[in-house]
């Protein structure tokens, strides 16, 4: 099963894939105990422009893997390449959305969105215009001068999305960004993400533990096993974009959900 999965994951004679992960392994030292192996062995490729979700049970190492890809923690072993270059430190042309919105309460919404540009030294009129455009795109027009405390959780998460997109990242890394939202807002945000992806062409790696979310938004669903994580299944979702809520009721959709459920070991 494993080898077949890897074949599916990698386009055979193609040029360098956008993202290339081979034998990624991660363990954490624990004082007085054997090291905890979070990720056993993860190997797959990501095509440029694809939206890949990492689906897996809680505590299996999804966040850890995403942070490794983001260059925030060094992997214990394996190869991590983006655009043909090894990732050993954070890359400014990545955008990261964390599980919490992580907005700065002392900055206005507009200033929060512009934070990456300030760090990268690229604040100018064009950046401010782009911040306003992004906020309008996520339906937050008129909130530029508000403070985060005045926004709801869903609105804050949309601001975090704008902030991750402000510097036009080639790779967008998202860790359960909609996990804390109610079902309705969550579905709205999924459509918004697909909309933004279509407009920007960014490659997206998206962590979730919702099966239907992963099937709905993905080109590829990469199912992680329980800890220590290996790839349990690598599912290509051949449903055309743009997608809308109706496809959730298609038999193909349900079949893909079943397959993901089987890989997770919750359905047979």
């Amino acid at each position: 099963m494993q080898s077949q999965i890897i074949e599916q994951g990698r386009s055979s004679a193609a040029p360098v894939p956008f993202g290339h992960f081979e034998g990624v392994h991660q363990h954490f030292r624990r004082p007085g105990q054997a090291p905890l192996v979070a990720i056993e062995n993860i190997t797959f490729d990501v095509k440029a422009g694809h939206l890949v979700t990492l689906l897996g049970p809680s505590g299996c190492g999804k966040t850890t893997f995403l942070k490794i890809v983001a260059g925030l923690i060094p992997a214990s072993g394996g190869t991590i390449q983006i655009n043909g270059r090894a990732v050993v430190e954070p890359q400014p042309d990545f955008g990261v959305v964390f599980q919490q919105a992580n907005l700065m309460p002392w900055r206005t919404i507009q200033a929060n969105v512009l934070f990456p540009m300030e760090i990268l030294g690229r604040t100018d009129a064009a950046a401010e215009l782009r911040a306003r455009e992004l906020l309008a795109l996520v339906g937050l027009e008129g909130f530029e001068k508000s403070y985060p405390a005045q926004l709801s959780g869903g609105m804050q998460q949309r601001v975090a999305l704008c902030r991750a997109l402000i510097h036009k990242p080639k790779l967008l890394l998202m860790d359960e960004p909609f996990g804390a939202l109610d079902e309705l807002t969550r579905m709205e945000m999924q459509d918004l993400l697909l909309d933004i992806r279509a407009k920007t062409g960014a490659t997206v790696m998206f962590v979730t533990h919702s099966i239907s979310e992963s099937v709905y938004i993905s080109d590829i669903v990469c199912v992680f096993s329980k800890r220590p994580a290996v790839i349990a299944d690598f599912i290509a979702v051949d449903l055309p974009y743009p997608r809308s809520a109706e496809i959730r009721y298609l038999p193909e959709f349900t079949e893909l959900e079943h397959r993901a459920g089987r890989a997770l070991g919750i359905t047979r």
Binding site: A70, G71, L72, E89, P90, Q91, P92, F94, V96, F98, Q100, N102, M104, P105, W106, R107, F115, P116, E118, I119, L120, S146, Y147, P148, A149, Q150
Partner: protein, 254 residues
């Protein structure tokens, strides 16, 4: 002035009014000697009759407190930033700071007076010493309490240590710094008065002591009232500064 402001002001004002009425009643009904306990009315009239003296003597106390506090802020915040961000400095200086803090300032005051004389300088130094500790402790706590998510965000953009400090750590510590400043500013007034008690030529503390030795209790109590008014005024100034520097913290409440 919105309605809830009026409502919030009502309770303390009503509380003080009740205490004053009870106090007035008590001193009059039991014919308490005004040297032992002057009535609120006595204090009021002493204050009104001596307003120019009280005002004149307030000035040095005000200057000593404010400069001592300002010095504590100016030195305490950078000190705390260094201590919080350097392991070596933290291990070296923090124990020394704690040890010196546990020395009662009243005990040090006479020595300070020997060093800096009977003028305003010595009071300023004592005010500085008492205000320094809360500023340092709260600022250092704030420096260490930066939300991990924000640090991770900054790291994901490869922000420099200076950028992280200026754009994340320091603004995130502001609520802590102001909490420390509010404690420090009232302590600074106390420090100045301690200095004036031990040896001085002027100031509200000096006036209080003089009036007391002349058994002019109404005036001594008037000096006490002016002292607490001075403390409230300075505290209010810090709260105002907080509102100006951190406008976002207010927007969350309403």
């Amino acid at each position: 002035m919105r309605l809830h402001h009026v409502r919030n002001a009502f309770y303390p004002v009503a509380g003080i009014a009740i205490i004053l009425v009870a106090w007035q009643f008590y001193t009059q009904f039991f014919a308490i000697n005004r040297i032992v306990l002057p009535s609120p009315a006595d204090i009021f009239w002493a204050s009104a009759a001596n307003w120019n003296v009280l005002l004149r003597e307030s000035w040095p106390t005000f200057v000593e407190s404010v400069l001592g506090f300002a010095l504590a802020v100016a030195i305490g915040i950078p000190f705390a930033v260094c201590v919080a961000n350097s392991r070596v400095l933290n291990l070296t200086l923090y124990p020394i700071l704690i040890a010196t803090q546990s020395i009662p300032k009243v005990a040090v005051a006479p020595i300070i007076l020997v060093w800096f004389g009977l003028g305003m300088q010595s009071k300023l130094v004592i005010a500085f010493l008492v205000a320094f500790f809360p500023i340092v402790v709260d600022t250092a706590a704030g420096m260490r309490a930066t939300p991990a998510g924000l640090l991770e965000l900054a790291r994901s953009l490869r922000a420099s240590p200076l950028q992280i400090f200026l754009k994340v750590q320091f603004p995130a510590a502001l609520p802590f710094i102001f909490a420390g400043a509010k404690v420090a500013v009232t302590l600074a007034v106390i420090g100045a008065v301690i200095g004036e008690f031990i040896g001085s030529m002027n100031g509200l503390g000096n006036l209080l002591l003089t009036a007391n030795s002349q058994l002019d209790s109404p005036l001594a109590w008037a000096a006490l009232v002016w002292l607490s008014a001075l403390g409230v005024l300075l505290f209010g100034a810090v709260v105002l500064a907080e509102r100006i520097v951190m406008p976002w913290s207010e927007t969350g409440h309403h």
